[in-house]
């Protein structure tokens, strides 16, 4: 706990100036994320989960408070290629093969052809898409496309992985598989993960810490340390501990909603 945090937000505020009324998307958000943590953000629509993740990524400029990533400003961290970002939609380029899609960040960052090939092969293996490098996106299912987009975020050496509802559009069976794979991937790579989700079981299953948020204005209402062991088979979801954590998350969400009403 003495190590410097990878992501540190102090009293973060963000107000969007829109045509009609200003939108207070984040209020007084303080959070510290340590190296190798898996932190989920959960809360109803519009509570600022995406906005917070985008702030960390330097895609959005906070209007108040301080935010550091790897000890730098988010902008500097972005330029230093500190993170890989997985969007809700896979967003693969239809004119590139899967392999070429994964190579996109590598091309931009100027990796050699040789290195590109090695890394594409390695990351596609990591997400279980070994034989699909030469396929085009439309030839893959939604789940496979999302795996390819995760591979794209893993292809370069960022120590942070930011994921915004990456499995939101997928059916439950595929989602379970990908959750399991994501956990083992996290265990193997030791990356720090920020993960936005709508789903309580998903948040509890994946995270070392769960951040409960609530809207209008977007804020943190509860932070829950998971007591679950690092090794998590899918059926851990039937265990008493799991259900207790899920309860606490649900209570936190409900409390946020009532306060709001």
């Amino acid at each position: 706990m003495t190590a410097t945090p990878v992501i540190e937000a102090k009293n973060l505020d963000l107000t969007f100036q829109t045509a009609d009324a200003p939108v207070h998307a984040l209020r007084d958000v303080s959070l510290s994320i340590g190296k190798g943590e898996f932190v989920s953000f959960i809360g109803p629509s519009g509570c600022g989960k995406t906005t917070f993740l985008r702030c960390i990524a330097g895609l959005e400029e906070p209007t108040g408070g301080t935010l550091t990533v790897n000890g730098m400003s988010p902008d500097a961290a972005r330029r230093a290629r500190a993170y890989g970002y997985v969007f809700q939609a896979a967003g693969l380029y239809p004119w590139r093969t899967i392999g070429k899609n994964v190579a996109l960040p590598l091309e931009i960052m100027g990796y050699s052809k040789q290195e590109q090939k090695e890394r594409v092969d390695r990351t596609l293996d990591l997400v279980d898409l070994g034989g699909f490098a030469s396929k085009f996106p439309w030839q893959l299912s939604g789940g496979m496309q999302q795996r390819a987009s995760i591979a794209r975020a893993l292809a370069f050496d960022a120590n942070i992985l930011l994921m915004d509802e990456p499995f939101g559009a997928l059916d439950e069976i595929v989602r379970d598989r990908l959750n399991e794979e994501l956990l083992s991937l996290w265990a193997r790579t030791g990356k720090t993960v920020g993960f936005v989700t709508h789903s309580i079981p998903e948040a509890v299953y994946l995270s070392t810490r769960i951040v409960v948020m609530s809207p209008r204005p977007g804020r943190i209402t509860d932070v829950i340390e998971s007591p679950l062991p690092a090794e998590r088979p899918l059926d851990i979801r039937d265990s008493r501990e799991f259900i207790e954590v899920a309860h606490r998350v649900r209570d936190g969400l409900r409390a946020g909603m009532e306060e709001d009403a």
Binding site: A57, L59, R78, R79, R81, Y83, G84, Y85, F87, A89, G91, Y93, P94, W95, R96, T97, L104, P105, E107, I108, M109, F136, P137, W138
Partner: protein, 333 residues
Amino acid sequence: MTAAPATTTPGPFRTAGRALRSTVGGTLPVLVVLAVIVGIWYAAVAPMNIRLALDQAERSGATVVPETPIARQEVSVWRLMAQNPDLVPQSYAQDRPRLPTPGQVAGELWATTGEMALEGRAMSRRSLIFHAWVTLRSTFWGFLLGTTLGIAGAIAIVYSRVVNLSLMPWAIISQTIPIVALAPMIIVLSAQVGIEGRGVPKAIISAYLCYFPVLVGMVKGLRSPGTAQLDLLKTYSASSLQSFWKLRLPSSVPYLFASLKIGIAAALVGTIVGELPTGAIRGLGARILIGDQFGTPLAIWAALFAAAILAGVLVTLLDVAQRATLKRMGMGR
């Protein structure tokens, strides 16, 4: 209910059926429309040419009702046809008809293209192949110039707010000026600055019509990537040159081909308009004009059809190029 098993029958029959259906499905409506057009055309020939036919019959001594051309002026073409049923077929056999029959046009077209080519005179002054070649050459240069300007303009507009605000209104205004008014001026002005012949001014007129659809289409295409796609590149800290080559340009390819198809047709029209002002003796536009001056409607119609066929061929070539390119890019399915 009884039809259900048939539709689920797997195997070669179904595939063959589908292939057949799609071929027939593609060409049958086109053929029907073509047949209707030709039918209407044939039907229109009689009323259009009946006065000419009756004048001619009168001169050669046949009895015509009413007897004099002056008296006939007072009567509608429908009455004339009803009163002189025996002479109606003559409408279809005029040397200089108001409206030629499709057969006459086809005959003239063949006589001035295929037949001359077989005689080895494809490049003679009287051959439409020669004139089409002249028009095609100018169209090509105009198209090249127009697309280059259009694409360059689109890039400038997308990447510079100032250019967007200053260039776009002028581009739109440029298209509101009738090209027939502008064409003679361009020809006179380029002669004034010492440019010999019609080639260059024709290409300029052609480019003038061609650049606009390319510009508009490419602006749309280059702007087609959404914020999500641009954000992804931002997370990699991509330069704007990189986002141009890796995202904006490839995204714009389908738009590019759509604009190129409109652009080449516009370039052809521009060239023909550039061949119309007096003085031109070469090219399809000049053939149309000369046909008008010498009262040879068949020559006009043949030149018009040659132009239409040329346009069709050019657009089809671009369509083939589009399919091949999109397929290679993995976007054609």
